[in-house]
């Protein structure tokens, strides 16, 4: 630890190496993007700088002889429930730099996960379960503004009512917004391909749409965020839907900075900024300081695209989310996207990630309730995002009242992510949240597209199995069907917010 700040010695992880099994292939040295592994020619040994290790597990995965294990540093600070290692290290970081601590991925604090406290129903005796393997099971979902009733012409068959453009989903799961820049083109490509193949949608995020992805027009949701990166008429037209991003679950209320060193030629071109320049997304849209301004932008987008694209508005689930969602519905959005406190990100101040926002389960329940109370539920689709881990979470979210679910972290994990929380460094060893050409190519879009497709397929089967057990053969019959949910271990107040009965009732 020579020439280093003493606090650096208290590193969180370390690399164990079975030197007998080490064949000096140096794969780990090459794979480590955090400069934690090196080969010493004189010693003919592979050595580690433990303080640099972030537990991304890349070396572990790529050691051909299984000689490496990354472990938590067994040396601890004095065990203290209050002054935890995290608290201490955060102080070290801030006292050494005078800066805000940056981190990434989703909230890692043990905020109650209500999905884990919800249980699904199944049919017994009084009505039959359905076998999804043989019998029809429909997951088709439409996202978009619908009308409350249909008006017929006198002929009794022609319908006079017109409804807004709808997105047709084969599974109520979409790929969440992750911008080109925060992730690389390869993952976007993979998501676009998987989405196209499966019949769902992916989202560009706020970094624009790279020209190579234009072919995926029909399964692309383009995002318009405060930085307006890559936004022009052509971009808006090359889409199935447009999403205005107001906020994000991992960092409600702040914008984003894509550091200049990450802005390479491809990103610069796509975002329409110079190479090497910071790509700063301001906290607000500077043309939206109030709800009527949002309406102004929604209609600007509709005007620009001749009312042909549904416009989504994405917000972070914050305290007053229900009211805001209603306002968004009033403002003319075709879908409201709410992103819960567990939503992921490529970079955010730690304090925001961990302490701002509310869990998505409560937000879904509150928003769905309020929209129904206001008679707006048909006017607007509700997409939930932030912290979905599996098909069961998806189904529970739909039962609580969501129409569909955005998955981002899941897609990343399917692409190899080990949640080491280093996205913001741009050094992602798995080639996901980096645009370093050496690292980015670790993510092969061919492979990942297939993985993502498999994942969607598995989830679809999973949802079908669960629906079948409940005797439901179409996803719409579980939408907002909170009667098929029961909770355990929740307070009365929580049950009330979620609108579910405790198990046994």
């Amino acid at each position: 630890m020579l020439f280093k700040k003493p606090q650096v010695a208290f590193y969180p992880f370390m690399v164990l190496r079975d030197d007998y099994k080490c064949i000096r292939c140096k794969s780990c040295v090459d794979q480590c993007s955090f400069d934690a592994t090196y080969y010493d020619e004189d010693l003919d040994m592979v050595l580690n700088r433990h303080e640099n290790c972030v537990n991304c597990k890349r070396c572990e995965a790529f050691c051909p002889t299984d000689a490496i294990k990354v472990i938590k540093n067994p040396s601890t600070f004095h065990p203290d429930a209050n002054w935890t290692a995290e608290a201490l290290r955060d102080i070290h970081t801030q006292m050494l730099t005078g800066a805000v601590i940056l981190t990434s991925t989703g909230n890692d604090k043990p905020i109650r996960n209500y999905f884990d406290h919800l249980l699904l129903d199944a049919c017994q005796v009084t009505n039959p379960p359905i076998d999804p393997l043989r019998e029809p099971m429909e997951l088709k979902t439409f996202i978009g503004r619908k009308s409350d009733q249909l008006e017929f012409d006198e002929d009794g068959i022609s319908i006079k009512t017109t409804i807004g453009k709808q997105l047709e989903l084969e599974i109520p799961v979409l790929f969440s917004a992750m911008s080109y820049g925060s992730i690389n083109l390869n993952l976007q490509k993979a998501m676009a391909r998987a989405a196209k193949e499966f019949g769902t949608y992916w989202n560009t995020g706020e970094g624009g749409l790279h020209k190579s992805l234009r072919e995926f027009k029909d399964c692309t949701i383009v995002q318009v965020a405060s930085g307006r990166f890559g936004v022009d008429l052509e971009y808006l037209e090359t889409s199935a839907a447009i999403e205005i991003k107001i906020g994000q679950g991992a960092k409600p209320g702040i914008g984003g900075h894509l550091p200049g060193e990450k802005v390479n030629e491809g990103i610069a071109e796509t975002r329409m900024i110079p190479v090497g320049s910071d790509a700063i997304s301001p906290a607000p849209h500077h043309d939206i300081y109030s709800i009527e301004d949002l309406r102004q932008l929604i209609y600007a987008l509709k005007e620009a695209t001749n009312y042909e694209k549904p416009v989504f508005v994405k917000i972070a689930a914050v305290h007053n989310v229900a009211a805001i969602a209603c306002g968004i519905a009033h403002a003319g959005a075709d879908a409201v996207v709410i992103d819960g406190v567990r939503g992921g990100t490529g970079a955010t101040p730690k304090s925001l990630r961990d302490h701002v926002g509310i869990p998505i389960e409560l937000a879904i329940a509150a928003v769905d309730d309020r929209l129904r109370k206001e008679g707006l539920r048909n006017e607007v689709s509700l997409i939930a995002a932030g912290g979905f881990r599996n098909a069961v979470d998806v189904l529970k979210a739909i039962a609580l009242g969501a129409d569909a679910v955005y998955i981002g972290t899941v897609a990343k994990i399917a692409a190899g992510c080990t949640q080491c929380q280093q996205c913001h460094t741009g050094r992602c060893a798995w080639g996901i949240t980096t645009n370093d050409p050496k690292l980015a190519k670790r993510l092969n879009p061919d492979i990942v597209a297939e993985n993502l497709y498999n994942l969607l397929r598995a989830w679809a089967h999973d949802i079908k199995e669960l629906l079948g057990a409940m005797g439901i053969n179409a996803i719409e019959s579980i939408k907002g069907n909170r009667l098929r949910l029961r909770s355990w271990g929740l307070t009365e107040q929580e049950n009330k917010i979620l609108g579910v009965l405790p198990a046994g009732m």
Partner: protein, 264 residues
């Protein structure tokens, strides 16, 4: 709403208080039919004029143009005979907007191409987050004065403030000018009080190279409002450029950065 054909390719629409959606639909319809010039008369705040149209067409606006004039503009030329409200040239890509009057807040937000010339004053937050890539460079010229947050977050492009109507003792620009600026260039005719400038920028005297650029950019403005370039250039200019393309590089830190020695 009343539509009149003036001559081949030229139409006149009297808007009154007709909803913008109808006006804009009519405009698009006429453009699709090959209109080259559309004159909008009696405009009372109709929004989004000129959006959703690709290609060269001229739109003249008489009255008060509504919010988001020329949002996402992609080619057309808009000339306003009167004042414009907020959001002129919002997220504009290509084309030209001339306003013969003043304009409101948040004009030129996220603009990435084309030209905007405002004859009079502009409100707050003008030229926020303008950007530029290679030869896609937006130019926003204000003939009058500007409010606070002028050129905030600017990432590229050229923002020019002339203050031609400035009275002695008046400030040409408001506070927090160019805060967070990390690209592009701002030229101000006259001086900007140091206390109004963000700490992310530095002030320079324009070089001869700059003057060439300025003269070139001012040509269009000078033609539009019939003010000789020499007259505009008769006073010295201040050039405002960002200190770094990474204004917030030291705002954030992380453990790995310290451990790796990346953050000193």
């Amino acid at each position: 709403m009343e539509v009149k054909k003036i001559s081949d390719g030229i139409f006149e629409i009297t808007c009154g208080t007709t909803h913008y959606r109808e006006v804009n639909r009519k405009v698009k319809e006429l453009v699709a039919k090959g209109a080259e010039k559309i004159i909008l008369k009696s405009v009372y705040g109709q929004r989004y004029i000129g959006t959703g149209i690709k290609g060269k067409v001229k739109i003249e606006v008489y009255g008060t143009a509504g919010n988001d004039l020329g949002i996402f503009l992609y080619g057309p030329e808009i000339e306003v005979f009167g004042n414009a409200q907020d959001g002129v040239g919002n997220t504009m890509r290509d084309g030209k907007i001339i306003v013969r009057g003043h304009a409101g807040d948040v004009c030129g937000y996220g603009m990435r191409g084309g030209k905007v010339y405002i004859e009079g004053d502009v409100g707050y937050r003008v030229g926020i987050h303008m950007k530029g890539y290679k030869n896609l460079v937006p130019t926003f010229i204000v003939g009058g004065k500007a409010g606070n947050f002028f050129g905030e977050y600017m990432a590229g492009g050229i923002l020019i403030l002339l203050g031609l109507n400035k009275k002695p003792g008046e400030d040409i620009v408001g506070d927090y000018c160019a805060t967070g600026m990390h690209g592009g260039v701002i030229f101000v005719r006259g001086e900007v009080p140091q206390r109004y400038l963000g700490k992310e920028v530095k002030v320079f005297e324009p070089t001869s190279e700059d003057m060439k650029l300025l003269t070139n950019e001012l040509k269009g403005f000078s033609e539009a409002f019939n003010i000789p370039v020499e007259e505009i250039l008769s006073e010295p200019f201040t050039k405002i450029v960002p200190v770094s393309a990474r204004p917030y590089g030291r705002m954030y830190a992380h453990r790995w950065g310290i451990a790796s020695g990346l953050i000193k």
